[in-house]
Symmetry: C2
Amino acid sequence: MSDITFFTEHTGIQLQELDPLQDRLEDEIGRISAAWGRGYDTEYASLTLPSDQDLISRVSRLAENKKALDPAMVIVVGIGGSNLGTMAILQALGVGQDIAYFADTVDTPYILRMKEKAEQHLQEGRQVLVVVISKSGSTAETIANAQLFVSLLKKHRTDYNNYMVIISDDHSPLADVAHEHSFSYLAIPKHVGGRYSVFSAVGLFPLAVLGVDIIALREGAQSMKETCTAPDLAHNPAALSAATLYHLYQKEFRIHDTFVLGHSLFGIAQWYRQLMAESIGKEENNQGQKVHVGITPTTSIGSVDLHSVAQLYLAGPNIQSTTFITVANQQDIAVPSDTAFDNVVPMIQNRTFNEIMDAITIGMQKAYIHADRPFMTIELPEISAYHCGQLLQMKMVEIMYLGFLFDINPFNQPQVESYKKETRKILSHE
Amino acid sequence: MSDITFFTEHTGIQLQELDPLQDRLEDEIGRISAAWGRGYDTEYASLTLPSDQDLISRVSRLAENKKALDPAMVIVVGIGGSNLGTMAILQALGVGQDIAYFADTVDTPYILRMKEKAEQHLQEGRQVLVVVISKSGSTAETIANAQLFVSLLKKHRTDYNNYMVIISDDHSPLADVAHEHSFSYLAIPKHVGGRYSVFSAVGLFPLAVLGVDIIALREGAQSMKETCTAPDLAHNPAALSAATLYHLYQKEFRIHDTFVLGHSLFGIAQWYRQLMAESIGKEENNQGQKVHVGITPTTSIGSVDLHSVAQLYLAGPNIQSTTFITVANQQDIAVPSDTAFDNVVPMIQNRTFNEIMDAITIGMQKAYIHADRPFMTIELPEISAYHCGQLLQMKMVEIMYLGFLFDINPFNQPQVESYKKETRKILSHE
């Protein structure tokens, strides 16, 4: 199977300029290579997920079991790292779009519409599966939504616990609830944080229930081991991308745009937005010094956003780098030639949609080059579970390298606690 | 009817610091006041839309006419300024979500799914309305999609032109097509650019067909005249917001996040993203000097993005300002108390969804204050067409003031032409 391809000729950086970063990365590449697939005891635990045979067996067995219930609706209750990867892959593959729902926050109009839809299914005899995902097991929004949807299930089904799945850390209060109430349960390894959990049960279980080929997804992820641990940057896209982003940051490029060509890849851009923001945005470095580093991740969709933000991207302050994500092969549509509009834009006549999109993409990249805006490109041979696995794995390893270069911890999120503490105070004392 | 409220106590700026900007804005406030409602001859033409009685009559008549066809699907063919306002208002109000489709770009998998859905309706005897919107009338993506959907209509309906509506500039090739082929047609005034066109037929017609109260929407917009042309900043939210953003830009705040509380306001954040990026991101100032100014607009949803980007926002480089958009009153849900999860997060028991969301919002804002991150807040009394009209109008006027402060033209988009030129070359010579 062909691999995703990574292009860096338009970053304005010569490869030898990155030599000092290559030297700095050498040990970290060694550590990641050594940790990959070797268990859950280190912070690189997520790299063991794609080759964990026990995990895939447990997930596949439970997924078959729940698919047999033939759910008309699968409600994933979870927020942030608990759902972004699943949403990204479903959207990319065009799978489960009518069945999958994501109860993320305590957003009344949004959740009420979801509840009404679920209630209608239940009243009409169809089944609703509720999957509650929280690593800590104590996320307020997730538990509020879990209470709402389990209450609904109870009202309509005496065997309601058969339609519940809990995914959490073994030591969380949610795991205790699952055991007490005989809800199906899958564990998230202790050292796999939310934003690195897409290849754990967090992503694999809902994806499998909804029909994604999780074997191919894992194979794609695992296939990146060699290339993402190659010692020289020229052959290691994860390390090269990290070094490029770090080098550009030193030159004041404080924003990074993931610009996907086509709506279906937008979820992947949003998944990466969390991964980059939460991993790299840090107040302190590993020595405890206040450094306030971070790259602001933005997300754009082509060609839609050429008609919205491209004016800024091409003309504004030159402080943003871009990674375009393109797809080489997909279905195509010919522009029909029997309509009143045939003479309006002569250049698109006898063309296909993909030809037009490709011309726009190249035209846009030429405009970026002309305006001296640095960019990289990742090309997927096609949108498949395998290539999604490759892309997501490459990006997670890139962020580990990038965290190392910034000398910060890419696995924690200390500031998230700050607003949670304030929120707890308000809810407890009001 | 109560108005939207604008809060600026947490920008870290004393009002008197903005006095020099107030002085600079004085003449521009006078010009906007004089132009508001006074016709379509100036670049402030969009300010005449909400009080144009002829416009509302024409739009309402055509909308009644097309609603009588009882369309099961309304496909809006258009991109950027041609659909972002419509999408924003529909999402905010929760209207037309199952009927409205947006064919924006030549994205094969995305458009094919839409085409299949339309074909199914047509085959089963239901009606599909196709609204083609392009100011220039020559947007490649829009015309390609128009050809696709009109071809589909022709295949299934002999009176297909009855199901077509064209919205364009009177002098565009699309207007000519509409007249030749007896498609229903509505005009966009020459000086109303895409990103300022939500209160023209561009927004009003599809919104009216889908059931939005466009009279209330316009009244909300028009109701902002007095406050958005008040001479002193303290009583003029549009000018105060512009002055604040400009002042922060001078202090290196290069990013502005529109952080909405709840999914339903996300479309409004995305609409503003275009408005700010395309209006303010400029290579040259009004004297033709290369200045490369611009504020990068980002968009976030609460509380979802507290679990994704808040770590960066609170800990990273202090270069981002924020406008939170909150809603005072909406439906509510009580957290049920009959479930296995009742003891997991004690503080949310006997609470409602809105109480939890409010506590999170306040907790988050306290964390922003503690981390010294500047923010403004706009509160909507409720989500209604009237208040959407107020908010969008305030934001458009804010951007006009901001363009004036930057000494750039907020109404043009010269760089967009650069990639279009490259694209044309490729499609014409390949």
